[in-house]
């Protein structure tokens, strides 16, 4: 076995991934791309869970990643159904034009 990578490097990588996801959510206008950016953020959190599970030798961290994946799948199913419904009615997926609930 060669030398191991310190745990905090994984945390930095996850932070950068989370930053990229946040930038996508804040700047892009296509709601599907915003959704994919949210998936990036969820995966950054998953990476931290797995890295610390390895660090503390605890299987709970990996089990929670499994639960996060279920939440992401449920989110994708409902979110994409909402997008189909919006597209049917408004013919657009631009986040600036979807302002039905805007006061």
């Amino acid at each position: 076995m060669t030398e191991m990578v310190p745990t905090n490097y994984y945390v930095f990588l996850a932070a950068a991934l989370f930053g990229i996801g946040t930038a996508g959510v804040l700047t892009r206008r296509n709601v599907i791309v915003i959704f994919m950016s949210i998936e990036l953020m969820l995966n950054a959190v998953n990476l931290v869970f797995v890295a610390f599970a390895r660090h503390f030798q605890s299987a709970e961290g990996q089990a929670i990643v499994f639960l996060v994946m279920i939440v992401a799948a449920a989110e994708a199913a409902v979110g994409l159904a909402i997008f189909i419904s919006i597209f049917r009615n408004r013919e657009t997926l631009n986040a600036d034009e979807i302002n039905l609930l805007k006061g």
Binding site: T2, E3, V5, P6, T7, N8, Y9, Y10, V11, F12, L13, A15, L17, G19, I20, T22, A23, G24, T27, R28, R29, N30, I32, V33, F35, M36, S37, E39, L40, N43, N46, L47, V50, A53, R54, H55, Q57, S58, A59, E60, Q62, A63, I64, F66, L67, I70, V71, A72, A73, A74, A77, V78, L80, A81, I84, S85, N89, L93, N94, D96
Partner: protein
Amino acid sequence: MSLGVFVVLALFILGSALGVILARNPVRSAMCLVMTLFFLAVLYLFLDAHMVGTLQVIVYTGAIMVLFLFVIMLLNLQTDPEESSATTTLSAAGGLCALFVGLLMYLVGNVENVPEPARDGFGSIQSVAEALFLRLMLPFEITSVLMLVAIIGAVVLAKRKIQ
């Protein structure tokens, strides 16, 4: 895993993640996301999380991304001319990455803890299942309710026309 392999994998992950938010065409974004998730799965394998890495490929790149691509192609999305410019996105990404990495460097930067070698069977299906079914039983059961709600919600939303 040696530091060199980690750096190469990290560059692949960050590069394809930038591809997700910079690509003009949503299909290209989705393919970049598939790449990101796949390289993350490789990183999970190096972290002795064999079961999580396998699930990442099967559930994320297999099921969730197929759903994304299916919807993108169903709606026949093209490049949006009103989409924000790549420079805006890239500068936001750079700023936020610097912010988050800087924050975490401040919090955990000086702790260079190299983990000890993993126990036998760490990250196997058996050890994750023991954690999931013995100590995390309630959250696991709650996610099954969440899945049921998601299924019903998706069917109802996709069927009906809202005014």
